[in-house]
C-alpha cells in the first residue's frame, strides 16, 4: 500500500541560482550608482537596509495576525488593520498628557470589561460565575481609571495597549464572527469589512480625526549615529528597538504555539477543526485565543509604528494601508504559515525601502519612491500567479 510515487524535487539549484544572481545584480547596481554619484555610498545603502528591516518587522507583526486568523478559521480579517490603529491610539492616550474624556473612557472600559468577561467565562467554563463577574468589574474600573488619568512610559503603554487591543480582538470575534461560524465564508468576510468600517468611525468619534503626534519620552526615539566604512549614518535607536521587540514577540509566539498545550490545540484546530473538537478541544476558546494573540501583536506594531514615524495618521485611514500591505506580506509568505508571515513581512520591507534606494532620484530620473506602495501589491500578484501557496506555505489544497 505504501507504494506512493515519490515526487522528484524540481531543480533545487535553480532557487540558489536566482538568489545568487539577484544578489549579484544588486551589488552591480550599487557599484554603478556609487560611480555615478558619491552620495550613494555604503552608509546610504546600509541605511536602506536597516530601514527595510525595521519596516519589514512592523509588517511581519501585523501579518502574523492575518495569518493566524486565516489559518484557524479561513477568514481574511479585514478589520485587522483597524485593530492595529486602535492599538496605536490606545497607547497614545496612555502615555500622552491628553487623556481620554471620561465618557469615552467609560465606553471603552465597558467594551473591554465585556471582552474580559467573555474571556474569563471561557477559562472557567461556567457562565455568570461570580468570580468572573467580579473580575470583569475590577477590570472595568481599573481600565476606566487608567484611560482617564494615567500617563505611562512607552513600554508600559505598549504592554497595556497590547492587553486592551487583545481583548478588543477577542470581543470582535465574540460579537461579529462567532455567531457566523456555520455560515458561508463570504458572510464572515463581509462582516469583517463592516467591523473595519465600524472601527474607523469609532476611531473618529473617540480619538478625533486628525493626524496625531506620537512622541513618547524615550531613549529609543533619540538619534543614533554610526560609521559604515568610514561614512557616517544618521538614524535613530528605533532601528534597533523595532527588530528586537519583533524578534522577542515572534520567539514568544513560536514557543507558545509549539510548547504549550493551548498552542498545540491551536495548531491542531488549524489543521482540522472538527477532529480537534473530537479530541476535546474547545474550539471557540482556541479561536478566541488566536484573536487575542493576533491583536496583541498588531497593537505592538501600532506603538512601534508611531514611535518610528513620530506621528500616527487619522483613525479613519491609519489602519488601511499598513493593514492591506501586511495582508500582502502574509500572502507573499504563504497565508496560514507563521514563518511565512515573518518572511513575507521582511521581504516586503526590503521591496519598499531597499528597492527604492536602488533606483533613487537622479538628474535624469525621478526615482521610484512614489511608486513604492505599488511593489507590495505587484509582488502579491506575482506570487499568486507563480506560487499561490506563498514562499513558505506548502499546500493550499483544503480538506473538506
Amino acid at each position: 500500500m505504501a507504494a506512493s510515487a515519490v515526487v522528484p524535487r524540481r531543480r533545487p539549484w535553480a532557487l540558489w541560482l536566482v538568489v545568487l544572481g539577484g544578489l549579484g545584480l544588486i551589488t552591480w547596481r550599487m557599484l554603478y550608482l556609487h560611480g555615478v554619484n558619491e552620495a550613494f555610498n555604503a552608509a546610504f545603502f546600509a541605511g536602506a537596509v536597516v530601514r527595510s528591516l525595521q519596516l519589514g518587522s512592523l509588517y511581519a507583526l501585523i501579518a502574523l495576525g492575518y495569518t493566524m486568523v486565516y489559518g484557524i478559521i479561513r477568514l481574511i480579517n479585514f478589520a485587522h488593520g483597524e485593530v492595529f490603529m486602535v492599538g496605536a491610539f490606545a497607547a497614545y492616550f496612555l502615555f500622552s498628557r491628553t487623556p481620554f474624556s471620561w465618557p469615552v473612557a467609560l465606553l471603552v472600559a465597558a467594551a473591554i470589561a465585556f471582552g474580559v468577561l467573555q474571556f474569563l467565562n471561557f477559562w472557567r467554563g461556567r457562565a455568570r460565575d461570580p468570580i468572573v463577574l467580579a473580575g470583569a468589574l475590577v477590570v472595568f474600573a481599573v481600565v476606566a481609571f487608567a484611560l482617564a488619568s494615567t500617563q505611562l512610559g512607552w513600554f508600559w503603554a505598549m504592554v497595556a495597549s497590547m492587553f486592551v487591543t487583545g481583548v478588543l480582538g477577542m470581543t470582535i470575534d465574540r460579537v461579529a464572527y462567532r455567531p457566523l461560524r456555520g455560515a458561508p465564508r463570504n458572510s464572515m468576510l463581509i462582516t469583517a469589512i463592516a467591523v473595519s468600517f465600524f472601527l474607523q468611525n469609532f476611531g473618529i468619534l473617540a480619538f478625533s480625526n486628525r493626524q496625531t503626534p506620537f512622541r513618547p519620552a524615550s531613549f529609543f526615539t533619540g538619534p543614533l549615529q554610526f560609521q559604515v566604512f568610514g561614512e557616517p549614518l544618521f538614524t535613530s535607536w528605533m532601528i534597533v528597538l523595532v527588530p528586537s521587540v519583533t524578534a522577542v514577540l515572534v520567539v514568544a509566539l513560536t514557543l507558545f504555539v509549539t510548547r504549550t498545550r493551548l498552542g498545540k490545540a491551536m495548531r491542531a484546530t488549524a489543521q482540522d477543526a472538527e477532529t480537534a473538537r473530537m479530541m476535546g478541544v474547545n474550539v471557540d476558546r482556541v479561536i478566541a485565543t488566536t484573536f487575542l494573540l493576533g491583536s496583541m501583536l498588531a497593537a505592538a506594531a501600532g506603538v512601534l509604528w508611531g514611535m518610528t514615524f513620530g506621528s500616527i495618521n487619522q483613525p479613519a485611514i491609519f489602519g488601511i494601508l499598513p493593514g492591506i500591505k501586511a495582508f500582502a506580506a502574509a500572502v507573499i509568505g504563504g497565508i496560514g504559515s507563521l514563518p511565512g508571515a515573518v518572511v513575507g513581512g521582511v521581504l516586503l520591507g526590503f521591496l519598499e525601502n531597499f528597492l527604492t534606494a536602488l533606483f533613487p532620484r537622479t538628474e535624469y530620473f525621478s526615482g521610484i519612491t512614489e511608486y513604492k506602495d505599488t511593489f507590495a501589491f505587484l509582488a502579491m500578484i506575482v506570487i499568486l500567479l507563480v506560487r499561490p501557496s506563498g514562499i513558505v506555505g506548502e499546500d493550499l489544497s483544503e480538506k473538506v
Partner: protein, 263 residues
C-alpha cells in the same frame, strides 16, 4: 422482532430482540432513546434506539447515506439531537458540548483517520490525551499504546501526514486510546485499507475491547465486523431496521442478501 420490519433488509427472517444476557442487568453505558436528528430541514435519523453496555462491542451496519456516521456524530455532539434523549454513564448527555462528552470518557477514531498531518506522531498522541493532565499516567498510556502498535514507537518524531494509510489508522486508534476512554467510537476503521491490514486492525480492536473498553464501530465491511462484535444494529435511511446478537445477524437471510454479499 426489533426494528420496524421495513425494507428489504428486514423482510426475511426476523431477528429476535437482543438477548437479555447478563449485560442487560447492568447499567447501560450509552443509550439513545428515540433520537431524531436533522441537518437543517433534512431529517437524517428517526427515532433511533440503541444501547451499549459496559465492555460490549457493538457494530452499526448500513449502506451509504443510511445515517451511520451521523449516529456517531450525534453521540459525540457534533450533530445536535432534535428529539429524544442521549444518556452516557447514567447521565443525560445530549445537552453537553463535545469536549464534556470526551471528558466523561468517549473517544473517537474518525472516518478517514483524520490524524493531524503536520504534527508528529507524538504530538498526535498528546492531542488524544488533551483533556487529561500530563504526567505519570500519560507515560503509562503511551507505553501501552506503543506496545499495542510498535510501529508508532519507531516513528514518534515523524509527521503524521507522511505515514501510510495503515499506519495512520494505527495512530488514530492509539490517539483515541490515549484518553483512557470508557467507550471508543470508530467510524469505518477498515476504509481504504488492504485486506490484510483490515484483519490486523480488527484483531487490535478485539484486543482493546477485551480490556474492558466498550467499542461502538460503524462498518461497511459487515462480515469482518460481525465476526468479532457482540451485537449489531442495521440502519436504513436513518432508522434501525434490524438488531440483535452478531451471530444472528450473520445468519439473517435479509442481511445476507443486502450486506454480506451472499446470495
Amino acid at each position: 422482532m426489533t426494528g420496524a420490519g421495513r425494507g428489504a433488509a428486514a423482510s426475511g427472517e426476523h431477528a429476535p430482540s437482543a438477548s437479555p444476557s447478563d449485560a442487560a442487568r447492568r447499567e447501560p453505558l450509552l443509550e439513545l432513546k428515540g433520537v431524531t436528528t436533522h441537518y437543517g430541514p433534512i431529517r437524517v435519523l428517526r427515532d433511533v434506539n440503541m444501547v451499549i453496555y459496559p465492555g460490549e462491542m457493538v457494530c452499526l451496519l448500513g449502506g451509504n447515506a443510511s445515517g451511520k456516521s451521523t449516529t456517531l456524530k450525534t453521540v459525540l455532539g457534533i450533530v445536535g439531537v432534535s428529539q429524544g434523549e442521549l444518556w452516557f454513564r447514567g447521565e443525560r448527555a445530549d445537552g453537553l458540548p463535545t469536549s464534556e462528552r470526551i471528558a466523561r470518557g468517549m473517544a473517537v477514531v474518525p472516518e478517514n483517520r483524520r490524524i493531524f498531518p503536520k504534527m508528529t506522531v507524538r504530538e498526535n498522541l498528546e492531542m488524544g490525551a488533551y483533556l487529561r493532565k500530563p504526567g505519570a499516567e500519560f507515560d503509562e498510556d503511551l507505553a501501552y499504546v506503543l506496545e499495542l502498535f510498535p510501529r508508532l514507537g519507531e516513528r514518534l518524531g515523524q509527521l503524521g501526514g507522511t505515514m501510510s494509510g495503515g499506519e495512520q489508522q494505527m495512530l488514530a486508534m492509539g490517539r483515541a486510546l490515549m484518553s483512557r476512554p470508557k467507550l471508543i467510537l470508530m467510524d469505518e476503521p477498515s476504509m481504504g485499507l488492504a485486506p490484510l491490514f483490515v484483519e490486523r486492525i480488527f484483531e487490535i480492536i478485539k484486543q482493546v475491547n477485551s480490556r474492558g473498553i466498550s467499542v461502538f464501530v460503524v462498518e461497511q465491511n459487515a462480515n469482518v465486523a460481525l465476526a468479532i462484535a457482540d451485537r449489531g444494529y442495521v440502519l436504513q435511511t436513518g432508522e434501525v431496521v434490524l438488531s440483535g446478537p452478531a451471530g444472528e445477524l450473520l445468519a439473517n437471510e435479509g442481511m445476507k442478501r443486502a450486506y454480506l454479499g451472499e446470495t
